[in-house]
Amino acid sequence: MQLRDAGAVEHVTVMAAGGLGTVEIVRKALGVRADAGVVIDVNELDSLDPGPTAEVLARAIERLAPIGLVLAGRQAGDWDNGQVGYLLGERLGWSSIGLAHRVWMDGDGLHVSRDHPRGLEQLRFRPPCVITITSDDSNGLRLAKVPDVLAAARKAITTWTLDDLKLAAGLDDFSRLEVLTVRSAERTTEVELLGGDSPTEKVAALAGRLLELRPT
């Protein structure tokens, strides 16, 4: 929405693929004045393999009018794989830029600031491009205004099925991983709590233990 306000993009479509709840997510985005919403009604993406998800999104994006920029989440929607945005970029034949904090336009063109192994990197890019966004102060969802929410509630949302995307035969061909098992990873320890009648006593006990535990 910031990019549209700045005149860098003309039209913002919000797209979500999934089962129950997907329509509400898109409706919420329309409430902050996104131009259009698309829902891909598909339950089969609830797997740990990001390949099929990227294929579904790529086909939907190709169906829309020419798109220049795709902003995707960094990983939450793909069970922490952190792959969908990149796979989507490759599938579309576009560049992708990962883990972006901020995307902006100035007289020089479009820029992005993103994580770099040694800190942060500022890049200049030309569309088309897929950018995955990580959380940052600058990119929280803006507050919706009541009239906009009311308007969004009446707005039509395009809904496509796998059949519409010519994927009725299934998504298995796009799967690159076989998931054998998923097991709990919650580790627990028997914590030793330092006692003491007063905070001063507790701090003294803690200081002693920290000095013992500190590697020499």
Binding site: L48, P50, A54, Q75, W79, D80, N81, G82, Y86, L87, E90, R91, S95, S96, L99, D115, H116, P117, R118, G119, L120, E121, Q122, L123, R124, C129, T134, S135, D137, S175, R176, L177, E178, V179, L180, T181, R183, S184, A185, E186, R187, T188, T189, V191, E192, L193, L194, P199, T200, K202, V203, A204, L206, A207, R209, L210, L211, L213, R214, P215
Partner: protein, 325 residues
């Protein structure tokens, strides 16, 4: 299974031309996965002759050194180069580090060369002729065991999850120099802001003092620097502290930040969300200071004290100073 590639880049896989523990861990992972297959070390960026010397006796059979600066080129160019190398040499496994660059290069390379990407791997084993990779999912609450259905398996490994190999110094591998590529995409790096490196890198730190929401404010958070200095440590932070603006993003420990493995980790005013705990898998002793005795951090800590951070930190600093005299 064919050869394996270990791909390293400056800042993570080598510093001043010398391999870091992270790339030695990548070799460790490749050795476990590939069993007896040869391993080739692909260095993206300027290296010195030291790289081959330092890799002698680690089962690396060849160093492929790309004579260009990855920071000046960028991921698109190196992807193109890696894709060509993979097409030519057909490795069965490609092992990358799970930092900001690896998390991007891995999936993109796999998509391009028809392989399967697995990010954030913490363990690997071979069973019934199949290589099984373990990776955390659901915000670190679970671990999935997965098998690649395509070759190569392009994996990124989490630091501190694999044993680093110890070079024996014998039989130095030959180095093949490879030219870099001119810019092939519309993405150009303009500027790199190198993070403040006062104190050890979080990933290498032996002692980390990390603060969370319970620090209450910038002023108290800043006092962690004093505490860390007294214990010879580095300051880390939870996502909450970064979101509050008290800490920089490169100080963040957890699923969306750094993975650390210090001998001593002191969590101050950190509740212990699973996303934060996910970054602590290799911590030896975890000490928690929190005013809420029911905070989840106490379920994973070894040592705890129920105290408000604002009360504990100044008193602890004074006490440690007094004992040091």
């Amino acid at each position: 299974m064919g050869d394996s590639f270990v791909v390293a880049w400056p800042g993570t896989g080598f510093e001043s031309g010398v391999p870091t523990r992270i790339s030695l861990e990548q070799i460790g992972a490749a050795r476990t996965a590939a069993e007896s297959a040869p391993i080739r070390f692909v260095a993206l960026g300027p290296t010195s002759d030291l790289v081959a010397k330092e890799l002698a006796g680690t089962r690396i059979v060849e160093v492929i050194a790309v004579a260009a600066n990855v920071d000046e080129l960028g991921n698109d160019e190196y992807l193109e180069l890696l894709d060509r190398l993979v097409a030519e040499r057909r490795p069965g496994v490609v092992v990358l580090a799970n930092d900001a660059r690896g998390r991007e290069l891995g999936p993109r390379l796999a998509a391009r060369c028809g392989g399967a990407a697995i990010n954030d791997v913490i363990a690997v084993r071979n069973e019934d002729g199949r290589t099984i990779w373990s990776r955390p999912c659901f915000g670190g609450k679970a671990v999935a065991d997965v098998v690649a259905r395509r070759t190569p398996a392009v994996v990124t490994i989490r630091p501190r999850s694999f044993q680093a190999v110890v070079p024996s110094g014998e039989s130095e591998p030959p180095t093949t120099a490879l030219a870099g590529l001119a810019n092939v995409s519309g993405v150009v790096s303009e500027e790199i802001h190198v993070a403040d490196r006062s104190g050890a890198r979080l990933e290498d730190a032996k002692v980390i003092v990390a603060g969370g929401r319970g620090m209450g404010g910038q002023e108290m958070f800043d006092r962690l620097t004093e505490l860390a200095a007294l214990l010879g440590g580095t300051v880390g932070a939870s996502l909450a502290a970064v979101d509050q603006g008290w800490a920089r993003v490169e100080q963040q420990v957890g699923l969306t930040g750094k993975f650390v493995g210090p001998e001593l980790y002191i969590a101050v005013g950190i509740s212990g969300a699973s996303q934060h705990i996910a970054g602590l898998a290799a911590v030896k002793t975890l000490v928690a200071i929190n005013n809420d005795p029911s905070a989840p951090i106490f379920r994973v800590a070894n040592l705890g004290v129920v105290l408000d951070a604002n009360e504990a930190i100044p008193a602890l600093i004074d006490e440690l100073r007094r004992r040091r005299g």
